[in-house]
C-alpha cells in the first residue's frame, strides 16, 4: 500500500486518542501516511500528527461554525477527484467522522465499510474485521471496486504508538463552495462538567443499568467509581430514560472501553452493550438474574441485588481508606 489518509480530529488537547490509533494503524499498512485536519489551529497539530507518522497535513482551515461533515468531505473529494487519490482513507467512528464518511462516500461514489475493528493487508487489498452478533463472531470484508477504500474505525481497535517523526508539512486544502449542504451551523456549545478520568481512558469503569431501579441510585455507581479512581458508565437504557447524560453510554452507539476492570451493575448484557466493553481485561457483574447474558462474559459474577452489594462494597472500600 502506497498511501493512506487519516481523518484527524482534534479535541481540546490536540489530536483525539482515536486519531492517534488510526495513524498508528495506517503506518503499519502504508509507506506514506497523511492526515486531513480542520479548525483554526491546524498548525499546532502538525507536531503531534507528525510524531505519530503523518508526513503531511491537509488543512481544510477554519470552518466558521459549520458542522464538519460537508466542508471536510468536500475538501477531501476535491483532492481525490482532482487526481490526488490515496489507496485508502481511515475515518474515526465519531460523530463528525461518520458524517464525513457518509458525505465522502456519496461524493466519490465509493461504498464505505463501517464498524471496523481490525485491518490487515492481504493480496494488496485491505481486509477489515467487524464484530457481528454482539461480538460473538467476526466478519471479514473487503472492497472489490476501485479505490480509495473508505473505512470507519471504532475506538480502541488499535494501540497508539508514536513513531518519533518530525512535524508534518501543512498543506492548505480548502473546502470550496459546499452550497446548501454546508448550511448546518453550530450556534452554541454545551459541555458537561467532568471530574475524574475520562470514561474511555480510565483503568476502572463502573457502569450502571436499569437494574439500579431509578436515577437516584446512580449515585452509588458514581461513588464506587470515584473510590476506585475510575469513571462512571451506563447502559443505553438509562441514558434513554434520562437518568444520566449520553456521554456516559458504553456500547455500540456509545463509547468503547477496555479498562483493567469493568464493573457492570444491574446491566443485562445486551449484544449492543457487550460490543462496547467485552475487550475489558476483567469484568465483574452484579445482577439478580442468574440467567443474565452479562454473566457469560464475567470473570466474577455476583448473583445479587445491586442495592445490597453496591452499598456494602462502598462501605468496605471506605473502611480500607
Amino acid at each position: 500500500m502506497d498511501r493512506i489518509w487519516v481523518l484527524a480530529e482534534a479535541g481540546e488537547s490536540g489530536p483525539t486518542p482515536l486519531t492517534l490509533e488510526l495513524l498508528t494503524a495506517a503506518r503499519s499498512l502504508a509507506s506514506t501516511v497523511e492526515a486531513v485536519a480542520w479548525g483554526g489551529d491546524t498548525a499546532s497539530l502538525a507536531a503531534p500528527l507528525g510524531e505519530y507518522g503523518a508526513t503531511k497535513v491537509y488543512d481544510v482551515g477554519d470552518l466558521g461554525g459549520s458542522l464538519p461533515g460537508a466542508p471536510v468531505a468536500s475538501a477531501v473529494a476535491a483532492r481525490v477527484l482532482g487526481g490526488d487519490a490515496p489507496d485508502a482513507v481511515l475515518l474515526p467512528a465519531s460523530y463528525d467522522g461518520r458524517d464525513v464518511a457518509g458525505r465522502l462516500s456519496a461524493k466519490l461514489d465509493r461504498p464505505v465499510l463501517t464498524n471496523v475493528t481490525g485491518l490487515r493487508e492481504a493480496d494488496g487489498a485491505l481486509v477489515t474485521e467487524h464484530p457481528v452478533f454482539g461480538g460473538t463472531q467476526i466478519a471479514s470484508a473487503r472492497f472489490t471496486a476501485e479505490g480509495p477504500g473508505l473505512f470507519v474505525i471504532r475506538a480502541k481497535s488499535f494501540t497508539a504508538e508514536p513513531a518519533g517523526g518530525g512535524p508534518a508539512e501543512v498543506v492548505s486544502a480548502p473546502a470550496g463552495d459546499t452550497g446548501a449542504t454546508g448550511g448546518a451551523v453550530i450556534r452554541d456549545r454545551h459541555a458537561e462538567a467532568a471530574s475524574g478520568p475520562k470514561l474511555d481512558e480510565a483503568a476502572v469503569v463502573v457502569s450502571g443499568g436499569r437494574g439500579l431501579g431509578g436515577a437516584d441510585a446512580y449515585a452509588l455507581v458514581e461513588e464506587l467509581a470515584s473510590l476506585l479512581h475510575g469513571a462512571a458508565g451506563a447502559s443505553r437504557a438509562i441514558v434513554d430514560a434520562g437518568w444520566v447524560p449520553y456521554s456516559h453510554q458504553v456500547g455500540q452507539t456509545g463509547k468503547t472501553v477496555k479498562p483493567t476492570v469493568y464493573v457492570a451493575a444491574g446491566i443485562s448484557g445486551a449484544t449492543q452493550h457487550l460490543v462496547g466493553m467485552k475487550g475489558s481485561k476483567n469484568i465483574v457483574a452484579i445482577n439478580k438474574d442468574q440467567e443474565a447474558p452479562i454473566f457469560s462474559v464475567a470473570d466474577l459474577g455476583i448473583v445479587g441485588d445491586v442495592h445490597k452489594v453496591l452499598p456494602a462494597l462502598i462501605e468496605a472500600l471506605k473502611q480500607r481508606g
Binding site: 458542522l67 460523530y95 458525505r103 472489490t144 462474559v297 445479587g304
Partner: protein, 259 residues
Amino acid sequence: MNVVACVKQIPDPAAPASLDPSTRTLDRSGKLILDDSDSYGVEMALQLAGNVEGSEVTIVSMAPGGETAGLRTALAMGAARAILVSDDALAGSDALSTAKVLAAAIKRAEPDLVIAATESTDGYTGTVPVQVAELLGMPSVTFAKSVVTDGATVKVERQTEAGYDDVESPLPALVTVTAGVVEPRYPSFKGIMAAKSKPVEVLTLADLGIDPAQVGAAGARQEILDVKDAEARGSGEIVVDEGDGAQRIVAFLEQMKVI
C-alpha cells in the same frame, strides 16, 4: 411542510438473527417489523409536523417482498402516506446503494425535512442518512437529542463527546435522531383501522429510473470474505450473594491490583 420519515423494516430482533450461508448477508426472508430505532423518528416527524400548519408526514422505506407491516405501524401512528421501494434486484444492497434508492424515492415527496434514525438495529452502518442528504444536496444534522422547527429552519441539540451543541440549519434538511428523543406513541385502535386505507405507493427500480446493475448484489462493491467465531471470553466464577458478595469483589479487585 412536507416531512419524510425513513423507516427500515427489519427481522424481529427478538428472534435469533442468522446469516444467509450463501451470501453471508443477514437473512431477511422472515416477517419484517418496524425498526424500533425508527419509531423515534416517526414520532418526532409527527410531532414536528403537528406544530407547523399544513404539514404532512410521508413514510419512505426500501424493503424486500413488498413488505408493508412496518409501514402500517407508522401509518397507524399517524403518518399520512407511505412510499415503498421493493425490487428483487435490491437484495444484497450496500449502504450507498440503499441511500441512492431512498434518495430517489424521498425526492418524490418534495421534502422540507427528512428524519431518519442515527443507526438501524440490524445494519447499524449509521451512514445511510448522511449519504441520502448528500445525494439530495441537503445539509444534515446527526445525533439529534432534541429537534424544533418553524418550517423554515430546524434547531437541533446535537450530542457531542462533551455534551451537546446547538445546531441550526435552513430547510430542506435531514436530521437523524437518537433513541429517547421522544416517546413513540402506541397506535390507537382508530389509528390501526385508519392505516388500512392510507395510500402506500409501491415502486420498483424502473419507476425510479435506477439501473438494477448499479444496486443490490450486482452493484455491491464490497464483499464479506468469511465469518468466524470470535475468541470466546471464558466465563469465570459466578456466585450467589449470601451477604459476602461485596467481600468477594474486594478480593477480586485486590488480585487485579486496582486497589
